[in-house]
């Protein structure tokens, strides 16, 4: 008897289940801080975020700190310079 536990026939994965799955937030050494006043809700940070962990808050975006690895791409791409990277304690 073989124990086959992977749900698919080939290397597919369900992004809804697995995209934000591993607690990579603990890997971070700095985190993005969003200035709500400067943010104009353009969504570029969310588009650029590699693991897609920017949360839509209705009038601005905020990082999902459970998964954010602190890569800083959002801060780099924000056209309003509304995001700054601050060191983790």
């Amino acid at each position: 008897m073989k124990k086959l536990t992977y749900p698919y026939e080939s290397c597919w994965s369900n992004a809804d289940e697995l995209l934000l799955y591993l607690e990579t937030g603990t890997w971070r050494t700095s985190r993005p801080k969003v200035d709500k006043e400067k943010c104009n809700y353009c969504g570029l940070c969310a588009l650029y975020c590699p693991p897609q962990c920017m949360i839509d808050k209705g009038d601005h975006f905020e990082p999902n700190l459970e998964f954010c690895k602190g890569c800083g791409i959002c801060a780099r791409e924000c056209p309003r310079k509304a995001i700054t990277m601050v060191r983790e304690e």
Partner: protein
């Protein structure tokens, strides 16, 4: 031959560093490199040697592995001693170039750090990359530990450039388990390697591209010419078997380390059952064989060191007269639903007779081939030897 204790330098370095140290000792003329996990340290260390003035080679910083193989093949055909290194995706990228190298009979030496091939993305150990190129005419050697990386690379130049062989040689070692594994190794002195390889200078010199000589390399071949060239290539591969045995003995006499040639026969003399392995799992398997022998069980191990050409004659001899045989593959043989080395050993059945022959697939994509796994394989082989029903292929990590 007087047995002398050659001086060595002892260092604690990774398998990748071992490869770089060995290549440096062989004084290549041209080195073309592109990094890929788990081989990147080979590139870094060789580049560091060049920067420190310890390596007098022309370093070509290529933009990809396909160029790396083309560049070194061209340099080789022009008479140079060359080197490159790759793994997995890089090996795949240089596929057409590698076929060219073999067709040219260019004695290129390459390190392939074994990593799973594209298809299911894996940055992890596995032998599928070396298996995927077994039919293009390269000689393939698979090593067991860091010390053997050093010794096999030096032997590889001796083998590849031998006038009777003139074939490219691939040295394979497991990614992660050997590439990143650090042990204390003995590094020969460069003067001694010069002396060891100097025998090549005394042989008739191979054809090479030279100014003033109107020879063409890589000519178009059809019909009879093509057939004859394939025949000659295969004949050279056959000659490589005895040659490799002789080279390994010669190396042992010279440097004090001998590996058994095409295969290593470990405690096989009175063995009733045999496990065939290759690569880093061999070390683990030897530990289990020793432990099992303490309990009186007569088990032996055969390590496949030269995979291409396939060590048919020596395997036939050592596998005869056994009660059951198991073959551990760190790869799969698509098309036969078993391990590829098992598949090739199965082809020896007319000579070794019909004995229980079992395929064990384990260690794919960094699955650890653990001591309990090897104990299980030996138990299964023993059960088959005692006449119990057995399955042809066991996927060790998937079994309940």
């Amino acid at each position: 031959m007087v047995k002398q204790m050659r001086k060595h330098e002892t260092r604690v370095i990774t398998g990748n560093a071992c490869a770089a140290y060995a290549v440096r000792l062989c004084r290549p003329d041209v080195v073309a490199l592109y990094p890929i996990t788990p081989q990147s340290e080979v590139v870094e260390q060789l580049t560091r040697f060049k920067a420190d003035g310890l390596l007098d080679a022309e370093m070509i910083e290529v933009e990809g592995e396909n160029s790396a193989m083309n560049a070194v093949t061209a340099a080789c055909v022009a008479g140079g001693r060359v080197f490159t290194a790759t793994a997995s995706y890089g090996l795949a990228f240089m596929y057409d170039a590698m076929m060219q190298t073999a067709g040219f009979r260019a004695p290129v030496v390459m390190v392939n750090v074994n990593r799973e091939i594209p298809g299911i993305h894996a940055v992890s150990a596995g032998q599928q990359d070396l298996i995927s190129v077994r039919d293009i005419g390269w000689l393939q050697i698979i090593v067991e530990d860091d010390q053997e990386i050093i010794d096999a690379i030096i032997q590889a130049y001796r083998l590849a450039e031998d006038y009777e062989i003139q074939l490219p040689v691939m040295i394979n070692y497991d990614g992660y388990y050997l590439s990143f594994s650090a042990e204390a190794v003995k590094i020969p002195m460069i003067e001694d390697v010069d002396e060891y390889l100097s025998i090549l200078k005394k042989q008739p010199q191979r054809l090479k591209l030279e100014p003033g000589k109107s020879m063409g390399a890589g000519s178009h071949g059809l019909l009879q010419t093509y057939t004859e060239l394939r025949y000659k290539h295969m004949a050279a591969m056959e000659r490589a078997k005895a040659k490799f045995d002789a080279i390994d003995k010669e190396y042992g006499d010279f440097f004090g380390r001998y590996y058994g040639g095409q295969i290593e026969e470990y405690r096989t003399d009175d063995a009733e059952i045999i496990l065939v392995t290759s690569g880093s799992a061999t070390g683990t398997a030897k530990t289990v064989v020793d432990a099992v022998r303490e309990n009186g069980q007569k088990v032996g191990l055969v390590k496949i060191r030269m995979y291409r050409p396939f060590p048919r004659e020596r395997l036939t001899k050592v596998l005869q007269g056994r009660k059951a045989i198991g073959v551990l593959d760190r790869s799969v043989g698509f098309g036969w639903n078993c391990g590829p080395m098992y598949q090739e050993i199965r082809a020896l059945t007319p000579e070794i007779g019909k004995v229980p022959l079992m395929s064990f697939i384990d260690g794919l994509a960094n699955m650890d081939i653990t001591i309990p796994n090897i104990e299980r394989m030996i138990r299964d082989i023993q059960a088959a030897a005692e006449g119990k029903p057995y399955q042809e292929t066991t996927w060790v990590s998937l079994e309940e």
